[in-house]
Symmetry: C2
Subunit: 296 residues, 2 copies
């Protein structure tokens, strides 16, 4: 018998996860504050519940995919929250990217109710969430891992157990996303330099990706930029937030991040320039404003 | 008949090129200011000449692989230099990484002697030079390209013709190496954060390289760092110099490079900390000094 799964927050990623779970034959109970998202989840075959507590009454595993720590707090410990109904020994699988110190504290507060926490931030975007091919950076005790062993493979084909303490999964995600944020800005900076010097952007792309300057972000973001692809594959505010969380982590640990801090300033400038609704490769628009270069 | 090749500067890269050319059956005349390098080139089957002019007397194609613009000037236009003997219509293939504006000016000065210039900076390190699998970013007129068409495939299996004006090859190389330099420092910065937060460095490596934070530099430099590999695969001063040249290029073009400038400061700190004789992944030692982290 497959376990019944609860999922709070069928947004862009959460809906993808819901569809992946349904395709694998899991029964999924969901709850969102937005009726439109509930309708989409219902269309995907999920059962919509009126509260997080109503979801948790039906499941031993509740996945949370909400925006931030405040929303996570609300759905876990607020009125009509998960702790009101989730049985002892149940698990909250935290998929949101939040401050690792928040996750560590949440796990302690949930433990007071006999509830386990699996810190399991996700990466890869909605399409891969739906395909069940996200990557996950997982941290939690053996009990929580065992309980989720049946459902994790339906969500992700790149699972990294990075530690046994909730917070470590988020830490790993922030280390990765710090790099992704720096590489995104570096790509824009180098492309602008190449354009300013008169190079063909497609040649810059080909040379860099075949040479020591290549990065996953350059390959993804610059390709879509020079192809004129305006679709929002990765919304600007997300990586802005993640690099900010990495800076907070570094501040707390006294681990200086000079490149991360400089990159974050460019993300902030992109928001200030009105690019919040665009893909995060719009950091290049900041360099356009600085240099006057144009893409052909 | 394969053309006779001249090569000035059989250093780490130049000796590799010499060996690759010999393996492909080219006759190679060489000259270095260091007798030890001449001996190594001779052992590889090259004919050692007393001056650059003596080399250029024997060849229509002279490859220069010297340290910087000053040395290039000396071997091309100084006493006993290439212009004294290279016949009209001969070509100087510039493989050193120098300021693009220098290359553009050199091409004009060589043109006064009827000599062509192929701007052809190289990338990949000595092992790939010897294997004939370096990458090359090539810029020059059709005549120069045609003259070198027979020899380029013996040197490189990744050749990018990026423009028809000498200087553009170097520009492309600086755009790439700007990224490589930023990514190298970013890798050190993120690894230090992960260690400071208590993550296992091998897990950091695996997660990042499977995720959006991956880069060619992270894969190469961090792997050798966490493996404790002390061999110098890429000497610290080289990328320090190249990022500095990229900053000079940006300054000249009024193309701000805030991440490049921040990364360069860390390279300078690595030199100041006495790591000039180490691999450039020793930028991590700066972050060690800043944070107190240790690699297991």
């Amino acid at each position: 018998m497959k376990p019944v799964i609860g999922l709070i927050g069928p947004g862009a990623m959460g809906l993808g996860i819901t569809r992946a779970l349904r395709r694998h034959g899991f029964t999924v109970h969901v709850r969102d504050i937005n009726p439109e998202r509930n309708a989409l989840a219902q269309a995907a075959g999920a059962i919509v519940e009126p509260t997080a507590a109503a979801v948790a009454r039906r499941a031993r595993i509740v996945i949370t995919v909400v925006v931030d720590g405040a929303q996570t707090d609300e759905v876990c410990l607020g009125a009509g929250g998960i702790v009101e109904t989730l049985p002892k020994g149940g698990v909250v699988m935290m998929c949101s990217t939040v401050a690792p110190s928040y996750t560590a504290g949440l796990a302690q507060r949930l433990a007071e109710y006999g509830i386990l926490t699996l810190d399991a931030p996700i990466s890869g975007g909605p399409a891969r969430a739906e395909a069940g091919t996200m990557s996950m950076m997982i941290a939690g005790g053996k009990e929580a891992l065992d309980l989720c062993a049946g459902v994790l493979p339906a969500m992700s084909d790149k699972r990294f157990v990075v530690g046994d303490t909730p917070g470590q999964g988020g830490t790993m995600k922030l280390v990765n996303n710090l790099l992704a944020g720096i590489h995104n800005v570096a790509a824009a900076e180098a492309l602008a330099l190449g354009l300013k010097a008169g190079l063909d952007p497609h040649k810059v792309f080909d040379v860099v990706m075949a040479s020591s300057g290549g990065s996953w972000m350059f390959g993804d973001r610059v390709r879509r930029l020079i192809d004129g692809d305006k679709q929002v594959a990765a919304a600007m505010p997300i990586l802005t937030k993640d690099v900010g969380l990495a800076l907070d982590l570094g501040r707390g640990l006294q681990s200086p991040l000079p490149l991360g801090a400089a990159a974050h300033q460019i993300f902030l400038a992109a928001l200030a320039h009105g690019h919040a609704g665009e893909d995060d490769n719009a950091v290049f628009r900041v360099y356009q404003a600085l240099t006057g270069v144009e893409l052909p």
